[in-house]
Subunit: 394 residues, 2 copies
Amino acid sequence: MKIQLDKKTLAEALALLERVIPSRSSNPLLTYLSLALPAAIPDGKGGALVLTGTNGEVDLRLFVLPSGREPVLGSGHVLIPAAPLAQVVRNLPGEEVLLEVEGELSLASASFQTRFAVADPEGFPEPLFPEPRLRLKAQDLLRALTHVRYAASNEEYRAIFRGIQLEFSEGGLRAVASDGYRLAVYDLKGAPVLERSAKLVVPARSVDEVVRVLKAVASPGDSDEVDLGFAEGTLGLSLAPKERPLGVRMAVRLMEGEFPDYERVIPKEYVLEAEVEADTLRESLKRVSVLADRQNHRVDLFFESASPLGEAREGRLTLSAEGDYGKGREELPVRASGVAMTVSFNARYLLDALGPLEGPVRLRLSGAQTPAVVSGGGEGEPDGYLAVVVPLRV
Amino acid sequence: MKIQLDKKTLAEALALLERVIPSRSSNPLLTYLSLALPAAIPDGKGGALVLTGTNGEVDLRLFVLPSGREPVLGSGHVLIPAAPLAQVVRNLPGEEVLLEVEGELSLASASFQTRFAVADPEGFPEPLFPEPRLRLKAQDLLRALTHVRYAASNEEYRAIFRGIQLEFSEGGLRAVASDGYRLAVYDLKGAPVLERSAKLVVPARSVDEVVRVLKAVASPGDSDEVDLGFAEGTLGLSLAPKERPLGVRMAVRLMEGEFPDYERVIPKEYVLEAEVEADTLRESLKRVSVLADRQNHRVDLFFESASPLGEAREGRLTLSAEGDYGKGREELPVRASGVAMTVSFNARYLLDALGPLEGPVRLRLSGAQTPAVVSGGGEGEPDGYLAVVVPLRV
C-alpha cells in the first residue's frame, strides 16, 4: 500500500491519537496505533488512510485523505507505536509525505527517509461506532460541553457526578454537570429533536477528549456538523469537516445510571437580582480573593441596593476578604433590585460559574444561605446557561 | 512612609523576587520580603522603594523609583510575605499604586484597597554587596552566560562542574562550563581588563537567576551596563537601566575551587572540517534521533568529502539512526575538507552544542573516537564560542 498525504494534516491526526492512546497498558496492543488503507471504507471516503487508537473509554478514528498527484495504491493494515510515529511526522522537512507499507512502514519527505518496524493487527480491538441518529452543529455541541464541564466532580467517590449528563428531549439538547455542591446547565435550544427522549452520562474525561478533537477538527464557523448516535452504552460521534482533507469518528463509553433530580436545587424565587460586567466581577474576585482564607476562599459580597425587586437601580457591590495575610476590599458599580444583603461565596466556585460568560451577567440570590443563580445577562446568548452556586455558611 | 509607584514596574520587581525567595525555609524570616523606604540610599536613588529577598545563595535587591505626582513621604522598613503581595500587585486594577506603611502595609489602586499584616525586620539577613571593579555591557554578560550554561552538570556529585567559571584576564572575560563529558567556552573579546587575573565559579542555578534578572531588567540594546565586583566569596552585580524606573543589585555566593585544566581536551589538530547551516543540521538531528536508541541517542554522521584539509568542497553529510522502532536517514548538503569518515554522537549533546548558534556552523573532527569541536562558522560573531563534544565509542 502507498499513499501521499499532507504532512500537517497527518501530524495533526497523529497528535490527536497520541493523546488518547495510553503509553502503557496491561494489554500492550492498546499502546499501538492501527494504520489501515482499506480497499473501500464507509461514508464514501474510499482511499483514505484510516488511523485508529483507543484507551478503552474512547475509541478515536481519523481518516486522512490523500494529497498531491501520487495515486493511492493497494490496501493494508498494520500496528505501529503511536508516539515515535507522531514525533517523526511532526518534524518532517517537506510539506508532503509518502507513506508506504511493505513489510515495514516507510515514510519519505523531502531529503528524509525512515522505516518503522510494524506489528500484526490480529487482536487489536475493532471499535463499534453506533449509527447516527441526530445531527448538530459542531460549535453548538462544543459550546454546550464547555459551558458545563467545570462543574463535574474530579473525586473518585462521586460516581455519577464524574460525568456530564446529555438530555435529549422535545426541548432540544441539555448538558448538565454537578459535583453535588454546584450545578451547571446549558440548554441548546432549537437542537434537532429525537423520536424519544434519552439521558446519557458521558465521563468528564471523555468529554475532554471530545472537546479537544472537535476544537482541532471542526471549523470555528457554523458550517461543520456532527452526527450523534448511541447504542449499547456507547455514544458515537462523526464529523467530516467540509474544508479539510480529514474525517473523524469517536465511540465513547457511557456511564451507567442518571443524575438525581437536580432541578429542585434551582431556586424558583429570588430576593435580590443584580447585573454586573463578567470581566469586572471576575478581575475583582481574583484580586480580593488573594487575601481570602486559604481553606474556604471566602469572599463577602455586599449589595447595598434596596429598590423593590424588578425595579433595578444603579448601586454598589462591595467585595471583601480577610485571611492570614491581611484584608482586601473593592467596590464595583452594579444594577440591582431587591433587599440589601451580604452573601459569602467560595471565590473559586463563583469564578468557575462566571468562567464561560462575557459581557453582562445576572446574579440572582434566593437568600444569604440558599442557592444563588449565575447566568448571562442583557440580551445575551439565545441559548441558556445557568449555574447554581451555594453560599458559604458563615 | 508613603510612595506612589508604577504598577507594572512594581509587579515585575516582585515577580523577580518571588522566584528567588523560598516558599519554605528552616529560617522562616527568609520566606519574607524586606520592604524599605530609606531616608537616603546609595548611588543617588534617594526616595526609592527598596525590596530585598534572598535564598541564601543569591541576594536580590530591587529599587523601584516613585511615579506620578504624589510626594514620597517618611521612611520605614518592614517584612511581608512575598507571594501574596506579588499576586495582589499583579492583579491591581489601576496603572498606579499608592503604597503606605503605618502599622500595616496598605495598597490602593483605583477602586481596590488592601491591607497586609507586616513583621518586624529585626533579624532579617542584611546582604553585603561587593564594591564594583569592572563595567560590562549587560547584553555581553548575558551572551557569555547563556552560551555556556547548558554544559554545566546537574548532578549533585559533580561538585565544581555544577558551576560556571568566569575567568578575568588580560584577554578579557571567558565563561566556561563542563560536566566532564563536554565543554563550552565563550570568550568575550574586548571586555575591560582587571588589574589582575581572577577565576570565579558561580553555581549554575545562581547563573540562572542572574540571567533571568538581566533579561527582565536590561534593555535589549547595548545601552545598559552591569557593574561587577567580588569580595569574600561573593560576586556582586549592579545595574541601573537607563530608561526604566528601577535598579537592581545582586550578591551571588561563589563556589570554592576552580576547574581542572580543561584546555587539554580541546584538540589542536583536525582531520576533517565541515560547514553546515545550524538550523538545517539541528532539524535533521531532531528528526533522525527520534529513531535512535533510547539509551545513548546515537546518530551516525557520515561525511563523504575527501579533499585535502583546508580545500573545502561541496559534499554530502548523511545522518542515520537505528533503534527499537526502526531506522531514519537523511542527507544534507555540506562544505567539507579532509578525510571521509563516520562519527557517532549522542544527538542530545550535539544539539546542546549547536543550541546557541545561528547561520553557518563549523564542525572540526580530530578523529572518530576523539573530541570534536563545534563553533560559529563564516564571518560570524566577533566573540568566540567553542564547544567540545566527545563522540560515542561504538
